[in-house]
Subunit: 348 residues, 2 copies
């Protein structure tokens, strides 16, 4: 399925994987394990693990000058590349591309209209060359125009059958076990964990509870408007509209945090330039603050891109050398997947 | 201070109350009492109290066909007129009018520009005649253009000194004790309470925790954008912008609930046409749902307006006869302040 293109792996498409796979009925049944006798068991001892332990001690010990009252303990996590795999492209974009056949079936007039025609052709090289504007059209056509309930049902169904091309597992299996442990450790210490993603807020909310133990109301993401209306029986419902309310990337992250949470986080985790302002904003608060960047430098167990000089950066969010230098300058802690993590996934 | 005008009491202004009053240092220290041996002690027995008790039993008894898992227990409350007094006008508007002198001091060129000139004149009759457009200009000038931290500090300071003209108490004392008991009762039964207000989200968030035990992240309101930037030392901060992101009234309430919470409430409480869609949307969900409307029919202990035929409706939100009829038709429960509430305020 993999095709080399000037745009790099972020544009590779895996159409058709859906139909070939059995459903995984267990996916929406179980919650992630929560017990953790020793904190952060999948982390190697080192500065990254120590920074997390020190931060939690400083903010939860009542005798500490940096003590934070429980109600103010907010931690924010980027998702793609920070909590789970974002290669070969971010999961929501794969969902949107794989939804195109259903959209064209419902609206046959799109079959001969670009960019839908290209997606329907199955020509991976051509799909990989689609422009940002083309992708935006595909996102709008596949993420809007249906009711909120219909959208939620579609995403849930897709997640039960879709799988990642490399690991041949559901995308929801591809969360980083060490980051799951950070979520558990912070939760156990009174922190309220939020996902603050450049991806779609409604998309991530479908699975945030079962995948991360984070309820939908603690997911902040790129969000479109909805329109309130009534069906033929007079029953009210919300329709997803192609109107952008929040672009939750870059400066949009602290702005979205203010809008949706109303407090400055004490800890923030990211992996790309799209997270820079969230990490700055977090670190600029009083007292002990933790800003961390996940560096993808493990081509063997996951991927290497950004300053690790492996794969090109994925389209959404990039980890540049400038960001790496900024982290060093600002006192953010860089997490090396290769050196700091004993294992990457729960299944491996 | 009261002036009769064609626009009714909602436009009456209480400029100057600020300076004359002592500060109330206790305001931001204590949390509301939480213990409640018998549920809803300030409610008279009757259909309204019974509807709340029945709803909680139906949704929290694991043997009930309408059982709701704890993580899905969401209750939403309008604020002005539902949780606290909205006469002679809603509190945030009083704040904005009383902030005008400070704005004019900082920007002297506004002193001779309408509508600021009228507000500065202190002519209560003229102030009561200001148009909606004038008021919007006043809201923009007093709620935007400063940093989020500056705004929060200003509101907090104002609340410590401002007082209601009738009861001569801080506005934060004027919450309805029976509704405080509903908040406590639902919280004790696993519900997450949200304020969903047509008022300003940032304004209400300043005091929601201490007044209602509701943290800022559980306040949804009319919200403007913020802009991320840096001060002269390179420290990032957010500036409140005059750009409307969410008009949290009417259809904006269910739309805002979707944006900020992502779940349909199981219970909703309102008092005006601005709450109608929230009550409809809540009631339209599966299983047991509770939609309630507070009717202001107690001129002696509070106010009588709307179908109770007393004062005219306040400008923001109205309780019309049509809304009352809709409540009866849709199976929403109307709460009569006169008949259902033993007392209105904790202090009385």
């Amino acid at each position: 399925m993999r095709t080399t293109s000037p745009n790099g792996p972020s544009r590779r498409v895996m159409l058709g994987a859906l139909a070939a796979l059995p459903t995984l009925p267990g996916l929406f049944g179980a919650a992630p394990a929560r017990a953790q006798a020793v904190p952060l068991p999948s982390w190697n001892d080192g500065p990254a693990k120590q920074a997390i332990l020190d931060f939690v001690r400083a903010t939860t010990d009542a005798a500490s000058p940096s003590f934070v009252p429980p109600e103010e303990r907010i931690a924010t996590f980027d998702q793609d590349g920070t909590l789970w795999v974002e290669q070969p492209m971010y999961t929501q974009l794969i969902y949107c591309l794989e939804r195109v056949p259903a959209v064209v079936k419902a609206r046959p007039e799109l079959a001969n209209v670009e960019p839908f025609k290209t997606v329907m052709s199955g020509n991976q090289q051509a799909i990989a060359m689609l422009s940002t504007h083309d992708l935006e059209e595909i996102l709008a056509a596949t993420l809007t125009g249906m009711s909120v309930d219909e959208f939620n049902a579609e995403v849930k169904k897709w997640l039960e059958t879709a799988e990642h091309p490399r690991w041949k597992r559901p995308y929801t299996d591809l969360t980083y076990q060490p980051m799951q442990e950070v979520l558990v450790y912070l939760l156990a210490n009174g922190y309220k964990n939020y996902i603050v993603t450049g991806g779609g807020q409604d998309f991530v909310r479908v699975y945030s509870q079962i995948v991360y133990g984070i309820p939908p109301e603690q997911v902040v993401g790129t969000a479109g408007g909805t329109k309130y209306g009534y069906d033929k029986d007079g029953k009210p419902f919300l329709t997803k509209e192609p109107k952008l309310l929040l672009n939750d990337n870059d400066a949009g992250k602290p702005e979205g945090i203010h809008m949706m949470i109303g407090r400055r986080p004490h800890a923030a985790f990211g992996n790309s330039t799209g997270d820079q302002q969230m990490l700055e904003y977090t670190k600029a608060g009083d007292g002990a603050r933790l800003s961390m960047l996940v560096l993808h430098d493990d081509a063997k167990r996951e991927y290497a891109y950004g300053p690790a000089q492996g794969l090109p950066d994925p389209k959404v969010g990039t980890f540049t050398q400038a960001l790496y230098d900024e982290a060093k300058k600002q006192g953010w802690t860089v997490i090396s997947m290769k050196d700091d993590w004993k294992r990457i996934f729960a299944f491996a």
